[in-house]
């Protein structure tokens, strides 16, 4: 047979591509549930890192045990729903992406028993999406810990936002600002606010700028919620352990 004729070439390539596509589609469908479970566990472990909760072997059990409440809020800071703790329901990246609108309808907030409130962020990095979880102390202003992730930032440069421990550590103790600029990730010396930012990573300018922009946007989404619940805290003059539970209750009353 003449394997170099046009007809043969066209038929051959068509058949080959169809077979390959079928194999890939089958593999993707078959492996999807396991992959999804992994992604969920990974998301939860990032949330736990931001909440400074040490994860055990069974991440889901740790989460169930240490979480106080997982709620959904709107942009004005009112509670609009709840995430099931039993099912370890969390917002994954695709769910977070849907919230990036002028007026997000349901933003997740994870409140832990140790008093740390974790909020997510999600945005565009240099090569692909970047995301992160930010844990706030009880004053809902000071950052306790963060955990960032990315899809495809340059290893050794932009990827350092997730795998360079000193970068994540530099967030601890920084505060969310008020006004135009809520948080900055810039070169040292380029900062426009005093306390509301961290140094960018050298060699990763675009990723860091994107991270700063993302943080600003998401802090903006949560600004009202954080301000509202921190206020309740100061009014009742409790900044002890009871504070957190009262905050949760106050959120509940707003809903009613």
């Amino acid at each position: 047979m003449n394997t170099n004729s046009n007809t043969y070439t066209v038929i051959y390539s068509t058949v080959l591509v169809v077979i390959v596509a079928a194999v890939l589609a089958f593999a993707a469908m078959y492996l999807k549930p396991t992959q999804d479970a992994n992604v969920k566990k990974d998301t939860i472990s990032q949330i736990l890192t931001a909440a400074t909760v040490e994860a055990s072997e069974d991440i889901l059990a740790t989460y169930r045990q240490d979480i106080e409440a997982a709620i959904l809020i709107d942009i004005e800071g009112n509670k609009v729903g709840e995430l099931s703790i039993e099912d370890c329901e969390v917002y994954d990246n695709s769910a977070l992406k849907k919230q990036i609108t002028a007026e997000p309808k349901a933003l997740p907030v994870y409140i832990f028993k140790n008093g740390i409130t974790v909020i997510p962020c999600y945005g565009a990095g240099l090569w692909g999406p970047i995301w992160g979880y930010i844990g706030f102390e009880k004053d809902l202003k000071t950052i306790k810990a963060v955990c960032f992730g990315h899809k495809g930032e340059t290893p050794g440069l932009g990827a350092k936002i997730s795998d360079e421990p000193s970068f994540a550590a530099s967030f601890a103790g920084q505060q969310m600002g008020s006004g135009e600029i809520l948080f900055e990730v810039t070169k040292p010396g380029n900062r426009q606010t005093e306390n509301n930012g961290v140094d960018a990573i050298s060699g990763a300018t675009i990723t860091c700028q994107a991270l700063g922009k993302t943080l600003n946007q998401w802090f903006g989404f949560y600004q009202d919620y954080l301000a509202k619940n921190a206020e309740t805290c100061c009014q009742t003059e409790c900044c002890e352990d009871t504070c957190c539970t009262e905050k949760v209750e106050s959120v509940n009353t707003v809903e009613e």
């Binding site: 051959y12 390959v20 050794g156």
Partner: protein, 205 residues
Amino acid sequence: MGNIKETFLNPIFKGNPISVLVLGICSSLAVTVQLKGAIVMGLSVMIVTGLSSFVCSLLRNTIPNRIRIIVQLVVVALMVILVDQVLKAYAYSVSKTLSVYIGLIITNCIVMGRIEAYALGNKPFASLMDGLGNGLGYAMILVIVAFFRELLGSGTLFGFQVIPQAVYEFGYMNNGLMILPPMALILLGCIIWVQRSIQKDLQEK
């Protein structure tokens, strides 16, 4: 049968794809910070080179010559995506560390090189062995480089601390340069140096 054995063993030392042919350098610099990543990467490349050589060899008499390279790429891409999907399902943390490099196996010159040079002219089983052997040769260099980089750069092996605390107290420090890609290149250079001093016939005049 002796030939098959030779086909499999040759790329491990005498015809090693990295240290003799100097192919596939990019990924060997990037994934050798830790042993675990290097081993998974090595295994993945082994599977991809082995299976795609096997499949291409099966198809070798039917492939239209004009779209030869495209057909090879489709087969390699299929294997790479399958490996990537399986890792995502069953070894998620490793697949996260290796991130884009699994997908980039497709651009690894070893895979295409072996298909073009060997699989298209030889029987399927021999091609499978040739692919596996080349993958193993690649994996071996990766593991050697990763061993030194993890040991000297982080003081650990497979994530376990092996350099005792007492040594640090005497003023020993981990070598930060080992964690950065340039050091992998220097180590690779050392490996090539050692191999060429053993195998005199590789030395250029």
